[in-house]
């Protein structure tokens, strides 16, 4: 492998890391949200009179769960568009 200057190396590592981070950071909340929806649907079919309460609670907890994916996305955006490490070399 040819000799790389540090800026290129950091860019390469940043891109690969962002890809892996967004993969794991969206995979896990998606699985967990799917389970939450599944349980809420089971509850709604079992007790249709509680559907309104369940829907509100489901939406709130989905928002709280989804915020982890949003944090990962923001970290990836910072890494790609405003990488603090690159300023040391350029």
């Amino acid at each position: 492998m040819a000799e790389m200057d540090p800026g290129t190396l950091i860019t390469l590592v940043t891109i690969v890391t962002s890809g892996i981070a967004i993969l794991l950071g969206t995979l896990t909340p998606a699985i967990v949200e799917g389970r939450a929806v599944l349980k809420a649907l089971e509850g709604m079919t079992r007790q249709p009179e509680a559907a309104n309460d369940l829907r509100t609670t489901l939406l709130i907890s989905m928002a709280l769960l989804e915020s982890t994916a949003i944090y990962v996305l923001l970290i990836c955006l910072v890494l790609i568009f405003a990488n603090p490490l690159l300023d040391r070399f350029f």
Partner: protein, 224 residues
Amino acid sequence: MEGFFPQVVFTIFGIPIRDTVVSTWIMMVIIVGAAAMIGRRQPAALEMLVDFLIDTVSSVMGRPAEPYLSFLGALAIFIAVANVIGIVPLVVSPTRDINTPLALALVVFFSVYYFGIRAKGVIGFFKDMASPIFMLPMELISHISRTLSLTLRLFGNIISTELIVAVVFALVPLIAPLPLVAFSMLTGVLQAYIFTVLAAVYIVAGLEAGEPVSAQSSQGVSSQ
């Protein structure tokens, strides 16, 4: 990607004004004008909106919505219009800039203290919050962390959908971005709903801190 992030348009007395601030001004004019016009011609449309807000807020808080409706309703309408107005050409969403969600989350942060102190008095509110006393630091940390999470949730959702639209527009400029624009509108309205419901949950958690858990309040999700 140049021009995607907020830019300084002009400066007033040395204070830089970004394009998101200008579109906030446009939005304020639109909201006030629409409210005045619809209220005079067709009050039924406003009644539906207010009924929906009352239903949602009172079912989430488990108590009459009257004292909180003006605050939460204004929050919901502002965020919904702010998220959706990004589809108008030459106008950007104010929530694309992280300072707008931060300001809204700070308003929610202080409103928890305002409503709590108004209901219980200064001493009663802080005594309920610090019972037992070692819970006080955790309560304060959770107040700060949920302010931060409200900010990042709103900002991240809006910036992600707009980024997706921008990327697809760069690839296929013709018809392809339209479904994603519709999806971003849906996300924006949903985020306004979620922000408002979470603000109601936080306010009612501040009001009911220290009280024994009743059956009515047990449907609220614990604060993050």
